[in-house]
């Protein structure tokens, strides 16, 4: 079986996946997506049986996945999953529709409506961009005057969606950590706490959070797998919080980074992800 691992920035994860694929007996190729060109609707047998999409740029990733699926290739994750995960609103809708516990979330389409939504939600609240990762531009808003200032800043942004529309979410009182579960299909490959560094409330590893392994209880396992299923399944990073009221899933990541989690767990994450890719391609 031949698997192509497409990337645009060759990180530790992509190299680990490639090595795991070779060790697993697959004919694996690392493909730099930046050099690819396609003529619609040609087939691309040189890319093999299945493509593991690992581009770090969301728009490059989803556009390439659209093209590859259009050329008849199986891509992990699918375009539908990529689009659902890369837009926080789409993720929230998918989670809510599948009755996965998730923080209360509002969409507002103007700055005036954002202020009204904030009053309904109550302060503090969290203002997030629709697209983005690593906690970038995710802001705790503690009062109305801060929201008004942020609105002024947002209105200067070039991206029309981020400029004029607002994704507001309940601020959840939680310990200074969250949960990252790496999922492949219906299997939880690894589960870690991400502990925020001193002086930082966000728990992204990209912001210095430290990963620590733990064993999820049955309730958390069910919530994680339900969240993965809600966005369409595949290789995913499910992020959850643990307030006293019970688990809440706040994000599902389409191109999950696992270097931090791998440093904390015994499981061989890339090998298990490649095993999933291999099984999916054989279906």
């Amino acid at each position: 079986m031949k698997v192509s691992i497409t990337f645009d920035r060759l990180r530790w994860e992509e190299k680990a996946l490639y090595e795991a694929a070779v060790a697993g007996g697959l004919e694996a190729t690392l493909v730099d997506s930046k050099g690819l060109i396609f003529e619609v609707p040609q087939k691309h047998p040189e890319l093999g049986d299945v493509v593991l999409q690992r581009c770090i740029s969301h728009y490059r990733s989803s556009t390439l996945t659209l093209m590859l699926e259009g050329a008849g290739l199986e891509v992990i994750n699918s375009y539908r999953v990529a689009e659902t995960c890369s837009n926080k609103l789409a993720t929230s809708i998918a989670l809510a529709n599948s009755r996965v516990p998730t923080p209360r979330t509002f969409l507002a389409l103007t700055s005036e409506a954002a202020e009204e939504a904030a009053e309904k939600l109550g302060y503090p609240l969290v203002l997030k961009p629709f697209t983005g990762s690593w906690g970038r531009m995710v802001t705790v808003v503690r009062d109305r005057s801060t929201l008004q200032s942020l609105i002024e800043y947002k209105e200067e942004l070039a991206n029309p969606q981020e400029q004029h529309m607002y994704y507001l979410q309940e601020y959840v009182n939680r310990p200074p950590r969250d949960i990252r579960a790496i999922v492949a299909g219906d299997h939880i490959v690894a589960c870690v706490h991400r502990i925020a560094p001193p002086g930082e409330w966000r728990t992204n590893v990209a912001r210095g959070a430290v990963s620590k392994a733990f064993k999820p209880d049955s309730e958390l396992k069910e919530v994680i797998l339900k969240a993965a299923d809600a966005v369409g399944g595949g290789i995913l990073g499910v992020d959850a919080m643990e307030p006293e009221s019970g688990y809440l899933v706040h994000e599902v990541n389409n191109t999950v980074e696992f270097k931090g989690a791998q440093s904390a767990v015994d499981a061989d994450i890339p090998a298990q992800l490649i095993r999933y890719v291999s099984e999916e391609a054989r279906r």
Partner: protein, 57 residues
């Protein structure tokens, strides 16, 4: 494999097991490069892409 940083001129050491697409950065000025090509022990670098607004997981 050694080459030089086009930004500051310092010697830039590229690991012998590096592969095309891999990133290396200059220890002196932190300029980041992507390995474009390796042939006959010679390495060709190009400036790495800058972090984009849509980058992430």
């Amino acid at each position: 494999m050694n080459t030089s940083c086009t930004e500051c001129g310092a010697t830039l050491a590229v690991p012998n097991d590096a592969i095309a697409g891999e990133l290396v950065s200059c220890k002196d000025c932190s300029q980041e490069y992507e390995v474009a090509e390796i042939s006959n022990g010679n390495v060709l670098l190009k400036p790495a892409e800058q972090v984009g607004e849509d980058w992430g997981e």
